[in-house]
Subunit: 374 residues, 2 copies
């Protein structure tokens, strides 16, 4: 029998954060594509667009006027999916299978920059650092509101990711419950902290217990670069295509040198290297297919420690390790995407090219943006 | 304080099949949409297309020639994501966080009908019954192959669901492992069978234990139609928008009169009423926006009982209750979809209109296809 070759033979990989598998079918990259192609992602936008409701000085659909902001600017989402407390009491359930739970919180829109035509990939590290500071400010502001348990920072970029406006912006939804996915991840962090991984030099979590992502980053950093999944690394941060990646060019960005539960725990230096890492990852993304690369980005971290809870609970939530997921849909070119449909929706995540192939491709991409070269 | 109104106030609902929550934000339907619109889903196709690799008598990309089939026709997927046994042994893992598991199996493509321009919604019940019979044949054929544990029947319909060819067809992927989502559901069935729901007249699962979906269907059928989530019901089958639906017009189709673990357990009559229900659901779908309505469909059922396993295991897998999920993306019109991105990908499923609103809309849709009216 032939020897196993991960770039040829279908296999499954396990995602220890979500306890799900991904089916890897690398030979499928040879499949011809006659299906839907995507409209090109715009990269020749004006610096200012008078019809854009996010540009400085313009009026939003609710009638409010944006200030003439000069860097980041945050406002309350005009169509918030979660509303402030108090929410009316939910009715008692007619059957245990039909339950309604209350939720309250708030939704912020964070405009990254006044320029309509820029994205993270084309902002200076200094401007990205201002976004990092603003995320921290919102994490504190929302986290100190009554009953808030989780602050979900994320970005939808590109019309194929449902983003309705190319003006660079992200969102923050704060909730009175820990949402499904972060709460699954936190259980995994808790479980791992009680496990006995092989002895390693990886940083440890609270009380010297192992930390799932500190351990994982440590392992990845020590795989020889050519064989591995690391895309980019600086003093504090590493970006890699995780072993269990689902999306074609999925990236996990995280600090690896010490255990850091939340963005509010970053030192001044770690914030700067974070901004640098964000810049490099997004530049490499745009360079893969020389287009403005669409993605969803989400930051996972410690839930908001409740003041009423005991100190031991506080330590439990400290098992989380700060990390960002980037899930971009493009697969083969600026207009051919991977669809996560049918089998993927109904049975199991499935990918075509391997995580290692995607990482190699990203590693080789220049760290200067294709539009900024001359 | 105002009273709770599910069509106004954000709330969360629990999905007992997957143990996940969905955030319901009904007031968001008022949000203007300036984002991506979808190309219209074709409905004026030729009856035969000489460039289509699924039409009778045509040559596929691998060089094989389709027979001049007259009803359903099944062939091995030319770009199978899973390959037949034996798969080469996977290497031992360098670290518990980096594991590779072998998988083998096979992928079938099931052409529903020779006519290039038809879909389930426009086939006769007799023709749909032939598809049901073919699903059963494949479930048996694949299920009797060495080591196969699960037979995943599904369909991607519409280019916005990644379907590369409008010729009516579905797929079947058979695997040597139970995929992530069915395996989560089976755990839920097992747990529920040990629970003590309110006493009801619902059919029971193996050994008289409660069955999660028999109980759920029973509850839904007894909610007054106007307030409820039932879309269509016949002698054996009910289609409903589940309490915990994520996709705008998501539908769960299942038998409700007795516990049925797998498609292979259907009686002759149940197969006919199944074909009738499939016809009605897909006709209603097309009638919502007078277009060929895109969706992914997936059938969940009992894993393949292994001959080597004990009789008690066999009973365990019998806790599953046959059901079909339909997950269509369209939200507001034939070309405005719901994007499950950002918050949904990173935190928790989120929907705009309520399950009850979607069910009412579907209930009111005619049961005659808009193209077949005169
Ligand atoms: O097999 P097809 O129709 O070529 O491909 C389609 O269905 C598959 C199974 O759901 C998906 O993995 C692909 O992304 C999708 O494009
Ligand atoms: O809030 P936006 O940008 O209008 O909307 C976008 O992001 C939301 C949060 O991920 C999604 O629920 C919407 O489907 C998407 O279109």
């Amino acid at each position: 029998m032939t020897e196993f070759d991960p770039t040829v033979h279908p296999h499954r990989r396990f995602n220890p954060l979500t306890n799900e598998y991904v089916l890897v079918s690398p030979h499928r990259t040879k499949r011809p594509w006659l299906g839907q192609t995507e409209a090109p992602q715009l990269s020749d936008l004006p610096k200012y667009d008078e019809t854009c409701y996010l540009c400085p000085g313009n009026t939003r659909s609710g009638g409010q006027k944006n200030p003439v902001y000069t860097h980041v600017h945050t406002f309350d989402n005009d169509f918030a999916a979660i509303l402030p407390a108090p929410s009316p009491p939910t009715p008692s359930s007619p059957h245990p299978l039909l339950t309604t739970e209350p939720v309250h919180g708030g939704c912020d829109v964070l405009i990254y920059h006044p320029r309509h035509d820029l994205t993270l990939a084309r902002l200076s590290v200094g401007d990205i650092k201002r976004i990092v500071d603003e995320w921290i400010r919102i994490y504190h502001k929302r986290g100190s509101q009554e009953g808030i348990k989780y602050v979900q920072i994320f970005e939808n970029k590109g019309s194929i990711m449902g983003c309705s406006n190319p003006h660079p912006h992200g969102q923050v939804w704060a909730l009175s419950e820990i949402p499904t996915i972060p709460s699954i991840e936190i259980k995994s962090f808790e479980q791992f902290s009680q496990s006995h991984p092989p002895v390693s030099q990886a940083p440890k979590g609270p009380k010297g217990h192992p930390c799932l992502l500190c351990e994982y980053a440590h392992v990845e950093i020590h795989v020889p670069l050519q064989e591995g999944r690391v895309v980019m690394k600086n003093e504090h941060w590493v970006a890699l295509v995780p072993w269990w990646a689902t999306w074609p060019f999925e990236v996990l960005l995280l600090p690896y040198h010490r255990h850091i539960p939340a963005i509010s725990d970053l030192t001044a230096e770690e914030k700067i290297t974070f901004a640098e890492a964000l810049s490099k990852v997004t530049i490499k993304y745009d360079n893969i297919f020389s287009c403005s690369f669409a993605y969803s980005m989400g930051m996972h971290q410690r839930p908001i420690p409740s003041l009423e809870r005991h100190r031991s609970d506080l330590e439990v939530s400290d098992v989380a390790h700060l990390h960002l997921h980037f899930t971009p849909p493009l697969l083969r070119s600026a207009n051919i995407r991977k669809f996560l449909v049918g089998f993927e929706l109904m049975a199991e995540a499935q990918r075509d090219l391997t995580a290692e192939q995607a990482a190699e491709r990203l590693r080789k991409c220049a760290e200067v943006h294709y539009l900024d070269r001359n």
